[in-house]
Amino acid sequence: MTGTEAFAQDDEIVLAAEQVLGLLSGEAADEWARRRSGDPALRQEQSLWAAAFAELALAVPEEHPPPGILPAAEARLFPEDRQSLLRRLGVLPALAGGFAAAAILLAATNLGWLAPPGGGERSAVAMLQSEDGVSLPLLWMSDPARLMAGPLTGDLPAGQVAQLWLVSEGMARPLAIFARGDSAVLDVEAGAVTSGAEFRLTAEFPGGSSGDAPSERVLATGRLEVVE
């Protein structure tokens, strides 16, 4: 092996490792991906590094995840059978009572399904999906009450963002603004779930709606459904 060949090999070794570590960005990452796709030896080198660094990952202690994550992933992957999925999960009827726009935080102890025998967290899911393929999964969890939204996928109208709203009794409350790939964790109270309030995703110009109300460009709507 010549000095030039050795240098080139060292460079490829390092590039493969940098890719695994996420240290390549932009053009360098694109160039590496292009070279790797056509070269089995480079793919093997990257796999070697991925497996080697995975030792660090596998040494991390296990932790039980909160409920609702698998249904949320399935709702993103299989939106076409969302209805059957929800039936399989067992959807509880929405509890009676309106959702106050003032965002009343209902005590979990007053909500039977929030305090199952033996305790434990409860969750609810929704998938907002437009006919044009824009989708935003929602996962609500009870303890503490929060709504995990995203990531937003699909192509938004050119030059626009998506804005998520909570609509109840004719009042719309803005929750968050999303570009493609964005996710967010939001404070949404139990009442938003139990009242069957509607979540609405609208297309807005950058910065979000200029007023207090969503635009007429509605991408998708949906309601959270409790996961049993």
Binding site: Q9, I13, L23, L48, L56, L58, P65, E74, R76
Partner: protein, 211 residues
């Protein structure tokens, strides 16, 4: 031919797919290693079935792997909500990419860990974008010198132990915290270019140890 020793390295580090793993791996890893190989084989079968569109296998893989992968997502993101989102992203990616799993030439648990780690890193980077790297690490079970004891017992642990401690820490932070050259440079008080030089030299040394 480049990387002529790769097959040997993979064999010695026990990184081959379980279908190629034989007595040499079992001898090297001992009883615990043997158990891991069994796990890998079952996980590999599930991923293979997912690649064929088997949703029951997808649910079974979630049941088997989610505690380990959520622990990893939590370690990387430092936040339970972000970790939950990352785990969700990871399982979407697992379903989407399972068909290409065999072509990656990587053992099942390593593949799953890589997918989960890659799903979690953007959440950690988003958090770090809102605060300096030194504040980002505060209160997150920050890595310190003692964390070298948590590297595991394999070839990577041995390789990191052979490096200068600061440089080994830089590699751990790049992998488990998603820190980039700018972040690492700020943390260690050197320009990003200098950090890149450190890391690249460390990787080449590490590769020699892995050989």
């Amino acid at each position: 031919m480049r990387f002529v020793t790769l097959a040997g390295k993979a064999a010695r580090t026990g990184l081959r797919d379980e279908v190629d793993g034989g007595q040499q791996d079992r001898e090297q890893h001992g009883e615990q290693g043997g158990a891991r190989m069994t796990d890998d084989a079952e996980i590999g079968r599930l991923i293979g079935r997912i690649g064929l569109g088997d949703r029951r296998a997808f649910a079974a893989l979630y049941a088997a792997a989610s505690p380990r992968l959520f622990g990893l997502c939590l370690r990387v993101t430092g936040d339970r909500d972000a970790a939950a989102l990352a785990l969700q992203d990871a399982f979407v990616a697992i379903w989407t990419d399972a068909a290409g799993f065999r072509g990656d030439g990587i053992v099942p648990w390593a593949w799953l860990s890589t997918v989960a780690r890659n799903a979690a890193v953007p959440y950690r980077r988003a958090r770090r974008a809102r605060m300096p790297v030194t504040e980002d690490a505060a209160g997150l079970g920050d890595l310190g010198p003692e964390d070298s004891a948590a590297d595991g017992r394999g070839q990577m642990a041995a390789g990191l132990a052979a490096l200068d401690p600061e440089r080994a820490e830089a590699l751990r932070r790049a992998y488990l915290d998603g820190e980039e050259y700018d972040d690492l440079g700020a943390r260690f008080g050197v320009p990003a270019g200098t950090m890149r030089h450190w890391v690249r030299r460390s990787l080449l040394r590490l590769r020699e140890v892995l050989t």
